[in-house]
Symmetry: C2
Subunit: 304 residues, 2 copies
């Protein structure tokens, strides 16, 4: 307890902790890359590629190359370049490997987070300010990204047929006509896509995951695995819902909760991981949010 | 067979293949980082940290953070900054994690290789030119690095007591007095240190390993493991000789050769890996050369 009137008390950080707690030896772009590497290294992360699990056509090394390829775009975000342009560059660089889409969702989270960190306001409010500052040009660059990367996406909402992201550049005139910013685009997808939901909900799951990483004990790979499982148990993964269906997403969430509650034996998490890989069920959104949380934790001084 | 007089024949590249075969989507600094990541991911690499093996105080994540930390120094090398200064910066950044020395030797190989690649002459001759261009200032920066990183090194050769690298900055006046460049320093250590030997032998083992990576088939992690084992079987590891003794280094080389020849059963390589970790025998120089070879292969267009 400190006396609120004590002139020697540390300044009240509750208003904007992001402004004062940047205590990392790395730049924001470097922490973003390290977050991507720690995410893929954390094992087990049932259904996702990690140190001990991979798919025959989507392997660990594709994630390493994807992380290196994303560097320039992440550095653009840190330098205050427009979010859409930085994201497009990061995703295009990420795709310079043979595995295909390794980090689309993670980069879509990291680009605004890096920009908020570089502005020394890595807080829910700071990310909301970045999101609110996006323009129609940012939305256009986001659509342009789909020319370079093959990504599984949800069906567009009613009335958005002309703005289906799978149309890529062809949809850009409609963005201009309807004067839609990247924030507007994310709002339209928030119901079906957990990454878009982070954009419009002040990145609350990423910040919560960062808090968990700071609280948990042990090597970072174990903490990453645990925080991922908790996030998976808390909310059905929208990438699973898109690629399979809502029932499968719910089943995976229930299984994650059962593993955490100890209803299954200690080896249960390994069996769960093997089974999801076998069924090609990949909770990619939860992995993306894990990368977002790792980035926030690293910016706040998590030591490796 | 092409007619040597055929005007449509491709130009003769035998003189300087490095000048014409830079066909990678990544910058030299990015390829250097990716080489470090692919090196640590390749498994098994008996005695070294990899995807499936680590020491309790030197873990996989330390190598990820070390790679990210090395970025700025590697970019300096690519920009043509002095080799000594670039290396010192890379090694200091590498050390911003809790595992200690993860990449000292690998960065000492990569710094001149990156500089040669950026000059579009990644050939034995191109690396020799970089080495020959080093100055007393480069040697001083090399000695300064020992202020930041705790590295196991060989005893200095006779007459070099005042130039023991463990003296760090204190040895710099002696470098000036004796007018010694970084090339001179490497020549003095070449007999006992396999990384220094690469410097004075035109990086021949790194180039040979790159050739093997291009010839071998299968996922890059398996090729890396195989190329590492072949390099280990070809020459006793000087890092093992320094930390243990020459007999142990010879024993490890003989064991690697036996594993390759099939004298031991197919599971023998895993048993070999487990045993070296158990005995804390770490063929670090062979891992460094593996990273050098991966870099050359990536620059030449090895696809991931």
């Amino acid at each position: 307890m400190t006396d609120p009137a004590d002139p020697n008390a540390p300044p009240d950080q509750s208003e904007s902790p992001g402004r004062t707690n940047r205590i990392t030896p790395r730049t924001p772009a470097e922490n973003a890359q390290l977050a991507l590497l720690l995410e893929v290294a954390g094992t087990p992360k049932p259904g996702n590629v990690d140190r001990e699990h991979e798919y025959s056509d989507l392997r660990f090394e594709h994630f390493l190359a994807g992380t290196i390829g994303a560097r320039e775009g992440l550095a653009m975000a840190a330098a205050g370049e427009p979010v859409g342009e930085a994201f497009e560059r990061a995703a295009r660089g990420m795709a310079t490997q043979r595995g295909g889409n390794t980090h689309f969702g993670a980069l879509l989270l990291l680009t605004p987070l890096v920009q908020a960190a570089a502005a020394e306001d890595l807080t829910p409010g700071g990310t909301a300010a970045v999101v609110a500052s996006t323009t129609v040009a940012d939305a256009s660059d986001f659509y342009r990204t789909f020319e370079h990367v093959d990504v599984a996406v949800a069906e567009p909402p009613d009335g958005w047929g002309d703005l289906d992201v799978r149309r890529g550049e062809a949809a850009i005139p409609a963005l201009h006509e309807r004067d839609l910013t990247l924030q507007d685009v994310m709002e339209s997808s928030a119901e079906r896509d957990g990454v878009a939901r982070e954009w419009v909900a002040r990145f609350e799951r990423s910040f919560r995951l960062a808090d968990r990483l700071a609280t948990l004990k042990g090597p970072i790979g174990d903490r990453t695995s645990r925080a991922y499982l908790e996030a998976l148990a808390a909310e059905p993964d929208t990438f699973v819902a898109i690629n399979h269906n809502a029932e499968t997403a719910r089943e995976v969430t229930d299984r994650a909760a059962a593993v955490l509650s100890g209803e299954v034996d200690p080896g249960g998490v390994e069996q769960f991981a093997d089974e999801l890989i076998e069924r090609e069920i990949n909770p990619g959104t939860t992995a993306d949010i894990t990368a977002g949380g790792l980035f926030v934790a690293l910016e706040r001084g998590l030591e490796i």
